[in-house]
Assembly symmetry: C2
Homo-oligomer: 250 residues x 2
Amino acid sequence: MSEMVPQSHPRYASLKTREKIVEGVEGGITGFNGLIAQGRGEALDYFIGERTTSAGYDAERAAIAMLLLAEQPVLSVNGNVAALVPEEMVGLAEKIDAPLEVNIFYRTEERVQKIADLLRRFGGKRVFGEDPDTLIPGLDHARAKATREGIYNADVVLVPLEDGDRCEALVKMGKKVITVDLNPLSRTARFATITIVDNVVRALPNLVELADEMKELSREELEAIVEGYDNFDVLRRSVQEMIGYLEEQF
Amino acid sequence: MSEMVPQSHPRYASLKTREKIVEGVEGGITGFNGLIAQGRGEALDYFIGERTTSAGYDAERAAIAMLLLAEQPVLSVNGNVAALVPEEMVGLAEKIDAPLEVNIFYRTEERVQKIADLLRRFGGKRVFGEDPDTLIPGLDHARAKATREGIYNADVVLVPLEDGDRCEALVKMGKKVITVDLNPLSRTARFATITIVDNVVRALPNLVELADEMKELSREELEAIVEGYDNFDVLRRSVQEMIGYLEEQF
């Protein structure tokens, strides 16, 4: 199963997603720049047909294999992720036995608090981010804040919708970085170890489902999935999806 | 001159544009959905290289020819246009002797008032929108509001960043509709008489400059430009630009 069925109501899904982001802004969880990021995602999602492509699904499988193999996996949550898929992030954290860390681009203590509270309301048990105790090297102070028990000492980090500089800084620390990014040409997409070119509202439910399916696999089977994975090829196929979509139009 | 020089600092320009939209929201001129629209535009602009393409420039020339030939041209201004190019809209209105009409998607009287005031501060003389006296057929009430002296009786309307339904409704009224839309596949792009696939922050300065250059042309010369214009071809070339950009990446 490496080809997902197209969603039956893509326009409805897109509008519902937009509503959630606007609610996130109104609730103080998402920043204005999160709305702009959402718009960029909408345009790009359109170009991959608003569905999980086979390249996206392959990346999702490799991501779960890598998270299940990790010694200290951590899931990072920013304002858009919190607005769109808080429940799924908590669910995934539980299934792979990982903590969550709130990690936002335009940091305010109030927003960090609100996001952490939201994750706890959805059942998040280990939620970091409110009391950072260290800095990620190579970033300016406000954006470098991290927690030793969380992202700082993790070996594998899932950071959906991450900024290019921060993705690069995590990779330079020697971590394996899994991201979700609809732009296969972005700096984040190119720096990450695994780039899931998919809408976060489809990717996270897929990841939760895959975690259930794949937890029975042996260590050797998981390792084979990770070793067989080629991120460059996945990015190339994602760009090819977009070209194919555009070529069909005229 | 049908090929524009690439901007020398595209990333700077993009970030500055984003800032203006955020200021628009903070000042009550732009709605939250305007931020999302800005994000969609950013992603699409990236795919045409963040510069005016030759297709875009051809559409801009045809637009000015059509506006100069018009009997009752009107320029429509929404929240994003007001945040990004208020001065240029007022300048263009003066050069082609056209009124401006505030015409926003999520109408509130307060926002209409603020946009009208802004346009007057920039020197706008005939600004409509605060006292609509009629309805555009085929739209629901809040979105149908229009002014007889403005859009309702216009023969040519420039409506940058317009919604698909409203673009269609104006075309059905028999108007010639010129739009600025970075998505060559959008319903607006396909319905409009002339679709300028360009960023509004580049298109408007170009239009102002072209109005100066072209106002010396004879009626016959202007008519020849309009008759030689092929919107389908311009959309096709714009999509081809995007495909070319994507193909270069891998």
